[in-house]
Symmetry: C2
Subunit: 177 residues, 2 copies
């Protein structure tokens, strides 16, 4: 591993104390888990590793992953929870019970004001094929590959309105200055 | 791979069309990249894979990863960009130029109203050692392991106020119902 990171103002060398840290997951709240699970499992091929219920607190957590060849997911629930929290790049969906029955309830996508969080992003092997697949599933587009100033970058919405960027790595070799 | 995902209302089996999709990154906007880069590289041991500048649009993007043994990051910038967009579990920081000079400027963390995005989460090999490391770096805590109803789960804030959950996988075997 000769490349150890670009130098920019602020960047410091990692120390021993952060060894083994992994970026495990990103959490977004969802209004109706049935719709979100249908969307992320069907359209993005994700699997539910664990659902954790917290009755006293009135919410459930769903941990979703794109399983890959070689992933050995334990069948035992406790072991599977530990495995889940050892992975990187998972999506956690939080369902506060009852929101699915509130007609006017909606979460904030972070791109309208007040801004903060922007999006999650999936890398796909074939952007055109992915776009066809999204159209076949009536996924809502924010921007197609030939729209706007960032060519070859697609944005769609999930069922809560969160933005999902879609990229094909090979088509982005020359993006940015 | 015998485990293929838990069954819950809404869950569907993945199809061939989503094969090869990867959850590449999560994007949050940051006010001052120098402070954010210092925080994520020093405290969390992340490296900057690529900085991409978009002069016409007035922003820069920083792609950060926790590099692991065996990661072969290309030195060539174009190849490194492609490599970056092929990974999973990265953090993208967006810097809209000039925000660092606006005294009252702040991003929205998604946990105050209006809610949406909740947090990112790092898994660490030793939660107590990680907490000591955060204290040594004057990281702000939202909740320590022995506080609140979720034992062994820690939350800290990054420099923009975004929440970061910290977990040690082995201590969570029995979390949730």
């Amino acid at each position: 591993m000769s490349f150890t990171g670009e130098q920019h103002p602020g960047v410091q060398a990692p120390t021993a104390e952060s060894q083994g840290f992994r970026l495990n997951h990103t959490m977004v709240r969802v209004k109706d888990p049935e719709k979100s699970l249908a969307f992320y499992t069907r359209v993005f091929g994700m699997r539910v590793l664990r659902k954790l219920d917290f009755e006293e607190l009135g919410f459930s957590l769903y941990f979703l992953a794109r399983l890959e060849d070689g992933d050995e997911v334990p069948e035992d629930k406790g072991q599977r929870t530990v495995w889940t929290f050892s992975q990187k790049g998972l999506l956690e969906l939080t369902h506060n019970w009852g929101t699915e029955n509130q007609e006017d309830f909606a979460y904030h996508d972070g791109n309208a004001e007040p801004q903060g969080f922007g999006h999650i992003c999936f890398s796909v092997p074939d952007l055109d094929a992915a776009v066809e697949w999204f159209d076949a599933n009536e996924v809502e587009f924010i921007k197609r590959a030939d729209q706007g100033k960032m060519k070859d970058v697609v944005f769609v919405k999930d069922v809560d309105g969160y933005w999902i960027e879609i990229v094909e790595a090979a088509r982005l070799a020359n993006i940015g200055a």
